[in-house]
């Protein structure tokens, strides 16, 4: 066992987190939880960036993470606003009940 954790470990972890996020988006009905799952995906990506940054000796990855966080925050802000607007018109948070538009 080497002293340092190899990059692959971080990458596998982040891949697993990403897939968990994807699975969450897929199986959950509650819009908010779906949002959380998406955040999970973005966090997984962040982990990848940081891990690469560490092993490539490049700070770029870390900077990018900051942008991603900003974007994530923005998405959440707008997303929650939409949910609130929606909630005023329809008291449901289940995505499969939001199906006025189809066909």
């Amino acid at each position: 066992m080497t002293a340092t954790v190899p990059l692959n470990a971080y990458l596998i972890l982040s891949a697993a987190l990403f897939v968990i996020g994807v699975a969450g988006v897929l199986i959950r009905r509650n819009v908010l939880v779906i949002f959380m799952a998406i955040e999970l995906m973005l966090n997984a990506v962040n982990l990848t960036f940081v891990a690469f940054a560490r092993f490539l000796h490049s700070m770029d990855g870390q900077i990018i993470v900051l942008f991603v966080m900003a974007v994530a925050a923005a998405e959440v802000a707008i997303g929650l606003a939409i949910i609130i607007a929606l909630h005023r018109n329809k008291e449901s948070m289940n995505v499969d009940e939001i199906n006025l538009l189809k066909g």
Binding site: V22, V25, L26, I27, R29, I34, V95, D96, I98, N99, L100, L101, K102, G103
Partner: protein, 630 residues
């Protein structure tokens, strides 16, 4: 100048047809009858000029110009006046003129008087184009043109369903023959590069090998055309029905002129036929069989015009018989005499019908002679001529044909011809006796209506009767009469005419004459002396009688074998194949697309998880391919 001969009646037709209604009726009549007179005059003048020429080079030509020129093929509006055309033109114009005059009286009451004369003129024009054309294609113009006129004239009283369908039938049956003829013509172009009589007929011996299949097929195609127009087996069926037209039309078109076009065609193409012995044989047999066949049907018909119509078919059969054995001049001779006496018969019949307010059934007539003396007299002349009783016209020409048949060694055909002669005597005089002699069977209405025809009708009758009685003498003595000598140069030298010894010829003639007289006597006995005996005869041979009476069921046969299958298959094609399969597959493809669209649409559930799944599956597949496909 020659080209004027057909053009003048054409002009007359246009004038009468388009503006005739707006001019006084007399003027229209004068124009309508004046144009055939002019044509006749011109023909006579041309004929005279022809006679002034040396016998071997009797030929007048005139050309208006090129008609169709395409690539290496060209054909002109050219007319030709040689002895053969001369005879035809004279017959057409002469008989035509008489019938025009006759029609003035016959059609006087008809509201479509102008239309009738316009069509009659048009017919004359087309017929003259047919006989004067110097090439096959122009001949074909006249050929189909007379067909059109015939169609329109048969259907002249188009409001009668029978007339309408008879017209259509005539055109269509003719068209079948014409189709074959067109094929013949295009083949001719391929072979000769031309359709000019001169080129084709001159080059024929070099281009076609004697007895070759090509020669046979080519001539047969032409002959099929001729059988259509000249009402021979198996395309004769239209002619009896054509009697739905006004009687002058029957006289002019369906007896004297148009139906002889086929004879003319074959005679004109004699150099071609001469190269195709098989075709000649077929022509002879078709002619002979038709003659007998039609005569047998004529024996039992009751419609006055139909009897004459079958007689026409039978006589045309004689002509073909003559042509088929190479006796071209004899065929034309019979054509000429036939034109006279058959026109006469028809016009007389017309006169009868006119007098009886349209009645045509001979069983309802009888004893007419006492009321219609001129008519009866002229009919009798015509009947005698038709039956081939010497010295009337029909005797000479028929005799010459049968002599040639015998001379060419066609024994069976001669027998057929002789039998037909007997039949002719029988049916002609059956008709005569039933209609004009014996007791009157007229009803009161007819009797009150009964009157002799006006002068315009009587005059042609008398003239034609004279002609029928005398015109035969142009062919006397047989084989070397005026007519034969005049026509001789037109036909190939190899034509073996009248090679039999004079003595045997006389014997044959007497034999045939005896047969004809026998027929007449039989008619006298069965129909005048003791009408019951005819019925007894019919009862004795019911199958034969029914066969004759129903015209061998040929119409029915065509109906079941040709017409109905065609219509049924057309309906099947239209309703099943076209609508279901061809159109159905088109609509099917469209429906398939719409169906696919609807199915795909159902995937669009409106639910986010579905969409996510779609993206996910897409991504998985895509990644799988991109990263792991090697």
């Amino acid at each position: 100048m020659i080209w004027l001969i057909p053009i003048i009646p054409l002009a007359g037709s246009l004038i009468v047809g388009l503006i005739g209604r707006r001019m006084p009726r007399t003027l229209a009549t004068v124009i309508a009858c004046g144009t055939p007179s002019l044509s006749l005059l011109l023909s006579v003048m041309a004929f005279v000029r022809l006679l002034q020429m040396p016998a071997e080079g009797r030929l007048l030509r005139s050309s208006i110009g090129s008609w169709i020129a395409s690539g290496d093929f060209s054909v002109s509006f050219g007319f030709l006046f040689d002895p053969l055309s001369a005879i035809m033109a004279l017959v057409v114009c002469g008989v035509g003129l008489l019938i025009h005059i006759y029609s003035i009286g016959y059609m006087a009451e008809d509201r479509d008087y102008h239309r009738f004369f316009a069509l009659l003129n048009l017919f004359l024009a087309e017929m003259l184009v047919l006989v004067l054309a110097d090439n096959y294609l122009l001949l074909f113009v006249g050929w189909e043109g007379v067909g059109l006129c015939s169609y329109l004239l048969i259907g002249f009283w188009f409001e009668r369903p029978a007339a309408a369908s008879a017209g259509t039938k005539a055109f269509l049956v003719n068209r079948i023959g014409d189709g074959a003829m067109v094929v013949g013509l295009i083949w001719m172009i391929l072979l000769f590069g031309s359709v000019d009589f001169q080129t084709v007929l001159t080059d024929a011996p070099t281009v076609l090998v004697y007895g070759s299949v090509t020669a046979s097929l080519l001539t047969l195609l032409l002959f099929i055309g001729a059988t259509g127009k000249s009402a021979q087996l198996p395309l004769y069926v239209w002619l009896p029905d054509a009697m739905e037209g006004p009687t002058p039309v029957s006289a002019l078109i369906h007896a004297a002129t148009m139906v002889t076009a086929g004879i003319y065609l074959v005679a004109r193409s004699a150099p071609l036929f001469q190269l195709a012995p098989v075709s000649l044989e077929i022509v002879a047999w078709v002619g002979g069989l038709t003659a007998l066949y039609a005569a047998s049907i004529a024996l039992v018909q009751t419609d006055i015009k139909r009897i004459i119509a079958y007689s026409t078919i039978s006589q045309l059969g004689y002509m073909f018989l003559g042509l088929g054995v190479g006796a071209y001049a004899a065929g034309i001779f019979h054509l000429m005499t036939h034109a006279f006496f058959k026109a006469l018969l028809f016009l007389s019949a017309g006169s009868v019908i006119h007098a009886l307010a349209g009645e045509q059934d001979i069983r309802k007539m009888g004893g007419l002679r006492q009321f219609l003396r001129v008519t009866a007299g002229s009919f009798l002349v015509g009947a005698l001529a038709n039956a081939g009783i010497a010295p009337f016209a029909g005797f000479w020409s028929k005799d010459e044909i049968l002599a040639a048949v015998y001379a060419s060694g066609h024994g069976p055909l001669w027998v057929i011809g002789a039998l037909t002669a007997a039949g002719t005597g029988l049916y002609m005089f059956r008709l005569y006796f039933l209609a004009f002699e014996g007791k009157s069977r007229l009803d009161a209405h007819m009797l009150s209506h009964l009157h002799e025809a006006p002068w315009s009708m009587r005059l042609p009758l008398v003239l034609l009767a004279l002609g029928s009685a005398t015109v035969g003498f142009v062919g006397v003595p047989p084989g070397s009469g005026l007519l034969q000598r005049f026509l001789g140069p037109v036909f190939p030298a190899s034509a073996h005419e009248a090679t039999a010894e004079p003595t045997s010829e006389v014997v044959l003639a007497v034999a045939v004459l005896a047969m004809a007289v026998g027929g007449i006597v039989m008619a006298y006995r069965y129909y005048l002396l003791d009408p019951q005996r005819s019925e007894a005869l019919a009862a004795r041979y019911p199958a034969l009688y029914r066969t004759f009476f129903h015209k061998y069921w040929v119409d029915e046969l065509y109906e079941t074998a040709v017409v109905r299958p065609t219509v049924t298959s057309a309906r099947t094609l239209s309703e099943l194949f076209d609508a279901r399969i061809v159109d159905g597959s088109v609509n099917g493809i469209a429906a398939l697309a719409a169906r696919a669209g609807s199915l795909l649409r159902r995937l669009q559930t409106g639910q986010v998880p579905t969409y996510i799944l779609s993206i996910l599956v897409g991504a998985v597949v895509l990644l799988g391919y991109l990263a792991f496909s090697g």
